[in-house]
Symmetry: C2
Subunit: 411 residues, 2 copies
Amino acid sequence: MAAHSVSPLAPSQYPELPAIAGLQLAAGHTGMRYKGRNDVVLMAFDRGTTAAGLFTRSTMPGAPVEWCRKILPRGAARALVVNAGIANVFTGKAGQQAVKTTADGAARALGCRSNEVYLASTGVIGQILPAEKIVAQLPKLKAALSGTSWMDAARAIMTTDTFPKLATATCEIDGKTVTINGICKGSGMIAPDMATMLAFIATDAKLPANTLQALLKSANNQSFNCLTVDGDTSTSDTVLLFATGKAGNTPYEKATDRRLADFRRALVQVMAELAQLIARDGEGAQKLVTIRVTGAKNDTSARIIARAIANSPLVKTAIAGADANWGRIVMAVGKTAEPADRDRLVIRIGGKPVTARGMVRPDHDEAFATKHFRGRDVRIDVDVAVGKGAATVWTCDLTHGYIDINADYRS
Amino acid sequence: MAAHSVSPLAPSQYPELPAIAGLQLAAGHTGMRYKGRNDVVLMAFDRGTTAAGLFTRSTMPGAPVEWCRKILPRGAARALVVNAGIANVFTGKAGQQAVKTTADGAARALGCRSNEVYLASTGVIGQILPAEKIVAQLPKLKAALSGTSWMDAARAIMTTDTFPKLATATCEIDGKTVTINGICKGSGMIAPDMATMLAFIATDAKLPANTLQALLKSANNQSFNCLTVDGDTSTSDTVLLFATGKAGNTPYEKATDRRLADFRRALVQVMAELAQLIARDGEGAQKLVTIRVTGAKNDTSARIIARAIANSPLVKTAIAGADANWGRIVMAVGKTAEPADRDRLVIRIGGKPVTARGMVRPDHDEAFATKHFRGRDVRIDVDVAVGKGAATVWTCDLTHGYIDINADYRS
């Protein structure tokens, strides 16, 4: 696979993630697909760590996703093993065996149970994971564990990603300072319903597993589910959230408890930052596109419309070409069949209204819209004028780079 | 707008369409957008011609679509006016006025009622149709009417099309020979639910309007609704079928009447040929892709899965790059959430099975699959192993050409 130059939308600097008490991590090299770079991550959690997870809705999930789904009800985590290069998807019984071998190996290395070991794999579909290559690295990974190897880990899980993705935030519960760190990967096969990607978030907050799950689900709707690159949903989508419980806060049981408000805000902040980093690294992306739909029948309808605009190849290529062809936005709204009032529809490009009364405004400033589409940050607002539903979706443009990357991914 | 070179999938020769008794047509030039080519078509029908029509499901339909929907219940047609270059979509009251001006002009020119004049427009969204430019050409068009100007008409309705699209067939009703001719245009903004395009079909059969409508709807499900280029549904999709009644057959009232079996077959043949021509002219297309899904819960489910494969940017770019990355087909099946048995799924590329028991077959011939993807006609079969539903969808690959064309459509 050819290396691709770093996205022009990459952040100019990366945050330094602080250590999280009760969590250590390390990155290493199995050589299963990539040369000269790390491709495997081990995270180790202290006893008492709770876990929450969300997974792809694909009916063709990979073996690691099935494994995580199986152990999640236990709600306890002692380890996470992630590899990049081979996704271990559509690999039948051999894939299940590879998962078991990896989990057993990590359990032996760390002295825990196999069903406390979370797994995620990303890369080519249809190849069986050479689990023995991962297991062989576990002693070295264990020896290298440290509290601060977040950047190494973020780099090791990359596939077609052109930059590592990290975010961090602090908040308070009961006056105790709580930290939330997250890393993720993803740049193609990215669509909502678990924006296709792997994301691993960890906090030192003390929270029961059920509460953590509810918090994750809610934050996911305001972050990764607002993301689409190409409308293609992966078989491996995984978001995991681990809570080591070392912050010493009261473990409130109700996810909606107002004493968790600051934690909820910080969790959304970290996850939304990560989601936007994925849009910024969308395969071939030259522009980050934020689409806000308002006035829909309800929030679900607004999201369907926003996604239709975000996934439309005609809208995405128009943005790539800086052709402010707003007619294609009309087309994309129309094709969803979601309620929308054609004759009261308001499209805004870069904040300036383009349409009124079912046609282009006489004062529409085409030059302004074109200039806005030429920039790195494109903003499209659409009010469909039938209700109060609203949604935001992040995406990127569709360029020659996407085709370059994807016409030849496996070579 | 730049001219694009003719698709490599264009037919090597075009059929010569015979005259249809009771129908005359002519092409002309308004100059509203294109230089040096025709851009308007007039068809005139003898008294007694019945009409059937199917239109976009977009909630943002163009003014011509609304006009046709309004007059269709009358079921009678005396004229059709089609223009290319400006779609008269999202043009508010001015767009409605343009439609009325055109219909009134044609009615005056041909001595019929305005509500017997069908209209269709294709091209840029958001610009008001300069109807007076069409009306000014009507006397010249009327004078030029002939029974055999089908090729001229097929060329005049092209936009980003790189070749004209025509098909013809004969059949028998009651031992009388019946002819069916069709022309269409379309190469981008093409998706099912009225594959985005204009198609005009005419026959000399004698058939009541209601019967004609039922026949059209059924044939459409086996032709244009099997077509997708980019998943983007247009605001202007229109398929019209006119029957002049000159063949002298008995006008059977029941669309399912077995005495109409040969007519139904021929109608599907003409419409399926036209639909495949659109796929062959998909913007940037280098390959015609036929996707057949079997073993689905029902036919609807099979079509959803087939469309998901056909519209997946990752599948389409893999085909463009002749990378037989069948894992992306697994991904596309999975993302629909339609019932499918991962562990019994059978994918065939070029007829050869690739998968069995939830993984790649040990005898999978990657070199054969790659060679097949290098060809002009790509065939993908997927059995999802849960039922008896089946569907076929035609599409094309996603290439740099698509982006070249669409990043700069309006300039």
